[in-house]
């Protein structure tokens, strides 16, 4: 039998690789966005610390930006905060 495909409609779903959890700062789901944004995805990305704790970029930036450099700790585990390099 030989089939000819005339038309396909592809549907994809995406999710952040951060489990089923919520951001520890704003408490919104990781698959949602931070309270200042409206559309989840690249416009409101997640970032990880070297300690492996994820946050919305906008949430953690606000917190880290308000701390003096020696006070920049992960809100979850209080280790020194360093953005983890991910590809």
């Amino acid at each position: 039998m030989k089939l000819t495909i005339n038309k396909v409609r592809l549907v994809a779903a995406w999710t952040w690789d951060a489990g089923d959890d919520a951001c520890g700062i704003c408490r919104n789901a990781f698959d949602g966005c931070c309270p200042d944004c409206n559309i989840p995805g690249d416009a409101c990305p997640l970032v990880w610390g070297n300690c492996k704790h994820p946050f919305h970029l906008h949430c953690i930036s606000k917190w880290i930006g308000a701390q003096s450099s020696e006070q920049q700790k992960c809100p979850m585990c209080r280790q020194d905060w360093k953005f983890e390099a991910r590809k």
Partner: protein
């Protein structure tokens, strides 16, 4: 009733982020009422102010005693800590001044935006539980004279004593 003194942050409107977070936290309290046994929250006529009743833990010198904590949330909560004080009558505890101010680092320098009303209440109940006998802090009178109705967030706290 002594309301624990005025707060310097009380009249600023909450940001959208703060409103959303508090709504979420409040929903958590009403869904699984209470998230912790012996705790209950009463809303006031203000969004940025909650009264939370806590109960002394079993086996502690405050067993079954109920105390009321007043939370006042700053405009940019949770980036900034809430102001938390005990209303009268306050528990007699070496880290609780008789004006309701609480010497507990997570309320000041040790604040993290990952902390919640629930976790703060747990820390306070745990702090109460560590006392073996009741009594006010040794510098209670001096402290109260010096703070003259200011918010505890304006005190420069020294957290020299991790044990009671």
């Amino acid at each position: 009733m002594n309301m624990g003194g005025p707060s310097s942050h009380r009249r600023k409107e909450l940001t959208r982020v703060a409103q959303r977070r508090l709504t979420r936290e409040l929903a958590e309290w009403s869904v699984k009422t209470p998230p912790v046994p012996g705790m209950s929250v009463s809303e006031t006529d203000r969004v940025d102010e909650w009264l939370v009743t806590v109960t002394g833990a079993a086996g502690s010198v405050y067993e079954n005693e109920q105390y009321i904590l007043r939370f006042v949330f700053p405009a940019d909560y949770p980036m900034e800590a809430p102001e938390v004080v005990f209303l009268q009558p306050t528990p007699r505890h070496p880290h609780v001044y008789s004006n309701g101010h609480i010497c507990l680092n997570v309320l000041y320098d040790g604040w993290s935006p990952a902390l919640t009303v629930t976790s703060v209440c747990l820390s306070i109940v745990s702090m109460l539980s560590s006392a073996t006998k009741k009594g006010v802090p040794p510098d209670n009178d001096t402290y109260i004279r010096n703070c003259q109705g200011r918010s505890p967030k304006q005190t420069r706290w020294m957290f020299h004593d991790d044990h009671v």
